[in-house]
């Protein structure tokens, strides 16, 4: 038996004994205040203890006794021999339950009805009448059971057996329950004698684009003809997410529709009531409470004392969120309040903090998101103060730390499996314990990974900073006045990514000035301001860091690009003619194509667009280009936030998982066989009005077998490489996941076509594909 439960059995026996003797004394000497107090206190303590376990009938009955004794103590109610009788019966009932609990660890069948009978008897004494009897049992959690639809009533009527109580279930799965391996719908499937099941969204559905399929957004309400204990067994691993109550049949149709008009019954049927269900919501709640404390009246001394404890609590909360750096501002607000003898400044400061955390994005608690970190070198040491010194860390040590975090991610992923095993083979709380441990380790690992990654993050301004000088010099040399605007320099990216960005960025800015922006007289003739504009913007989006370089220059003439490519024999004339302007623009990424008529002094140093593309792709990113002749060109570099962790789409082929960096994945499709054209050995298909070449991953990797005869469509991954899209036939799509990519070593290092390996959550080895090498 769980030691806590054992403790409960011992303590409740003691309390019941104490209550029994107090009741005897009270009956002998009704005027003695000590006896009623002792009795009251014993029941009060017992109620607190029962509340820790799932035994609502017990808690409710003790509460009813407590209410009656309160009335006796206040003189509202006389202790008649009748009332004493009921109280003795109450104590006996409780003692009986304790015996049964000790033997079976669950409340006996019929406990609800027993409790209700005694509650009723007590209420008669209190003069509250009996009408609200059943209603008490059905607190708001189960109010829906009183408002069944016609069809549900019919189902109920058909399934009810005379004299058998119904069991009502209110199951609100935790949003992250999928991660611990729960399938709420499957729990509901296992409810025996299910008569009514309602599956409801917790809130309005968001846009599919922002819908998180891994966060449980459904809740379940059910009625079953099976006994409560049987239903409880189904949900025994999620006791904190479910409430189960027994409803007497007669309580169902009539009395439920008539909502209790009598004194509102307390919400006493609830067990394990989530006082504050979401720990994340605690932060703003506790902060607001501190503001309230500061507003309370009292002597000057009391108020000063409250300021002291409130300031300490607020400081602790900042530390708990990893924001100790903001401590100084809090101290300042406290000092101001102390000096003025007015809690106002401190209260306003804390109210601001509360506002900040509750307004914070999706996960306000995660320090990583919460802390606006001044962008200092080497990140977020929580002891940091303004003006702290940067700490230099050997990158290799950091990489080792990251690798260890990666190992931990893999090691922890075995836990849900163990929890499942434990759940299947043993009936005790081991599975739940493992799940809880997993959730904690999972959270800590996520934070740790984030913290390590953040150590490597630097602001993009690092690569922006040299640009104004460069532009100024070039613009003077070329005689082209130019305004350079930079935005988003505070956006952070991994140091390695910034290193990769440096060279391409310089090149693209040079290109814009040299080939994009026209000389002033041409601009004037075209009705444009003489001064050209180059805008650089950095920001984060779903895929990573985006850097945009846009100019308002001449734009790129798609026809000129076509001609050039044909002249240089980079493409067949008829294929060039068949390209849309948008596609033709992509040709500038081909090696050897230079669009300016003569190789200029500035840009023609062998670093072409192909080099830009190659270095960006090597870092797992992509380049996009858009241009309107006469209006300008815009180029986007999309790079992952970090090279340490790669977000991959996992596909399955020949029974093995393969990963593709999501930055290269444009779409996942099912292409019907009849839409696949095949010419000699080359296959193609139409995607968004373009004909794309189609490759088969099995063939590229020399894997055995084919995709399987008999099916009517192929799973096709549309990937983008340097503006060129290709289709890739795979067996099936799996999840997207973050992996720590390791370079190929040993025998594997001779394999071509792979960027590295990673270990998946289930322990399988994932090969991450380098498409460019394969095609």
């Amino acid at each position: 038996m769980n030691p806590l439960f054992e403790q409960f059995i011992i303590e409740s026996r003691e309390l019941l004994e104490a209550a029994g003797s107090a009741l005897l004394r009270l009956e002998r000497e009704p005027a003695e205040p000590g006896a009623v107090n002792d009795l009251f206190r014993a029941l009060h303590t017992l109620k607190g203890a029962t509340g820790l376990f799932d035994m609502p009938a017990f808690t409710r009955l003790v509460h009813a006794g407590e209410d009656a004794l309160m009335a006796v103590r206040n003189g509202r109610l006389a202790l008649t021999p009748d009332l004493a009788d009921v109280l003795f019966r109450l104590l006996d009932q409780c003692a009986h339950w304790v015996d049964r609990l000790e033997a079976e660890e669950v409340m006996p069948e019929g406990a609800d009805a027993d409790s209700r009978r005694l509650e009723e008897a007590l209420r008669t004494h209190l003069g509250e009448g009996g009408a609200s009897g059943e209603a008490t049992a059905l607190d708001e959690t189960f109010a829906w059971a009183g408002q069944l639809t016609g069809a549900e009533r019919q189902a109920l009527a058909a399934g009810l057996r005379p004299g058998v109580a119904l069991t009502a279930v209110a199951y609100d799965p935790a949003p992250d329950c999928f991660f611990t391996g729960d399938d709420p719908l499957d729990f509901c499937r296992r409810i025996p004698d299910l008569l009514v099941l309602r599956i409801e969204p917790v809130g309005p559905w968001p846009d599919l684009a922002s819908f998180d399929p891994y966060a449980c957004a459904l809740r379940f309400r059910a009625l079953s003809a099976a006994p409560k204990s049987t239903v409880e067994a189904v949900f025994r691993t999620v006791p904190d997410q479910v409430r189960i109550a027994s409803l007497p049949q007669e309580a169902l149709p009539a009395s439920l529709r008539a909502k209790p008009a009598s004194p509102a019954p307390r919400a006493q049927g609830q067990t394990m009531a989530p006082a504050s269900a979401d720990p994340a919501a605690l932060v703003p709640a506790i902060l607001r409470e501190q503001v309230r404390i500061l507003s309370l009246g009292g002597s000057a001394d009391e108020i000063a004392t409250r300021r002291a404890s409130v300031a300490r609590v607020a400081g602790n909360i900042l530390a708990a969120l990893g924001r100790a750096g903001e401590h100084a501002a809090l101290e300042a607000a406290l000092a101001e309040s102390e000096a003025a003898g007015d809690s106002g400044p401190l209260a306003r400061h804390i109210a601001g903090l509360a506002e900040g955390v509750s307004a914070g994005a999706s996960a306000p608690l995660r320090p990583a998101e919460a802390g606006p970190d001044g962008g200092a070198e080497a990140g977020t040491g929580s002891e940091g103060r303004a003006g702290r010194r940067a700490l230099r860390v050997d990158p290799e040590r950091m990489d080792r730390m990251m690798a260890l975090v990666g190992e931990m991610v893999v090691a922890k992923s075995r836990l849900p499996h163990l929890a499942r095993l434990a759940g299947e083979t043993r009936g005790d709380g081991l599975a739940q314990g493992i799940r809880e441990a997993y959730a904690r380790i999972d959270g800590i690992t996520g934070e740790l990974q984030d913290a390590v990654l953040r150590l490597r993050m630097l602001p993009v301004s690092r690569v922006f900073d040299p640009l104004p000088r460069l532009v100024r010099e070039l613009s003077r040399r070329l005689g082209k006045p130019v305004d350079l605007t930079l935005s988003g320099g505070e956006t952070e990216a991994d140091k390695d990514i910034l290193d990769v960005l440096n060279e391409p960025l310089l090149h693209l800015v040079r290109n814009s000035l040299d080939h994009g922006i026209e000389p002033p007289e041409r601009r004037q003739a075209a009705g444009k301001p003489e001064t050209g504009t180059i805008r650089l913007a950095a920001f984060q989006d779903r895929d990573g860091v985006v850097i945009e370089i846009a100019d308002d220059g001449a734009g790129i003439d798609a026809d000129a690009v076509r001609r050039k490519a044909v002249d240089q024999r980079l493409i067949e004339p008829d294929r060039a003619a068949g390209l849309s302007d948008e596609q033709a623009l992509q040709l500038i990424f081909l090696p050897g194509l230079s669009t300016s008529a003569q190789v200029s002094e500035l840009s023609g140093r062998g670093v072409g667009m192909d080099a830009v593309r190659a270095s960006v792709e090597q870092a797992g990113g992509r380049v996009e280009i858009a241009s309107t002749p006469g209006q300008g060109t815009s180029i986007r570099l999309v790079l992952p936030l970090t090279m340490m962790i790669t977000r991959v789409l996992v596909v399955e082929t020949a029974g093995e998982p393969f990963g593709f960096p999501v930055t290269q994945v444009r779409a996942m499709r099912r292409v019907p066989l009849e839409e696949i054209r095949s010419l000699k050995h080359a296959e193609s298909f139409v995607h968004e009005d373009s004909v794309l070449p189609l490759y088969r991953l099995r063939r590229l990797l020399n894997l055995p077998g084919d995709e399987g005869a008999g099916h009517r469509a192929e799973s096709v991954l549309v990937a983008e490489l340097g503006g060129q899209r290709v289709g890739l036939v795979v067996d099936g799509f799996r999840e997207r996941t973050d992996v720590v990519l390791k370079p190929l070593t040993g025998v594997l290092s001779r394999l071509r076509g792979f960027a590295g390996t990673a270990v998946l959550g289930d322990g399988r080895l994932l090969l991450v594909v380098n498409l460019r090498e394969l095609l």
Partner: protein, 138 residues
Amino acid sequence: MSETLVPVRVLVVDDAVTVRAYTRQVLTADGFAVEEAVNGIEGLERALAHPPDLLIVDINMVKMDGYTMLRVLRQEPSLRNVPAMMISTEAKDSDREQALLAGANWYFVKPVRPDALTAAARLLTGRLLVVPASGGDA
């Protein structure tokens, strides 16, 4: 790092053995060092002898209730700013206000969920809060 190697000390004052055992079990599992006192007077004595990092106090107790205990405690210079949490079965706002007036920083209605209890204890004592990831990653 704010996660110190010296355990954070919590003093639990409650006259119900089971509730104390529950609180101890939950907080010890999360790495807190838990001490217990069975009533307000013993709570005061212990807190004075060795000021804790956090007080968790029940309201209804024989021999000095939680309100009185906190009021007295707040007058001690060494204890005036110790974070204090009150826990009671009463859910009325007037009870909550009573607790805050007496010197509590936070009030929970019993029974408190384990995750809420540890999260609050961490926040009130400045131990790094770790929340299970709830992102959309597999």
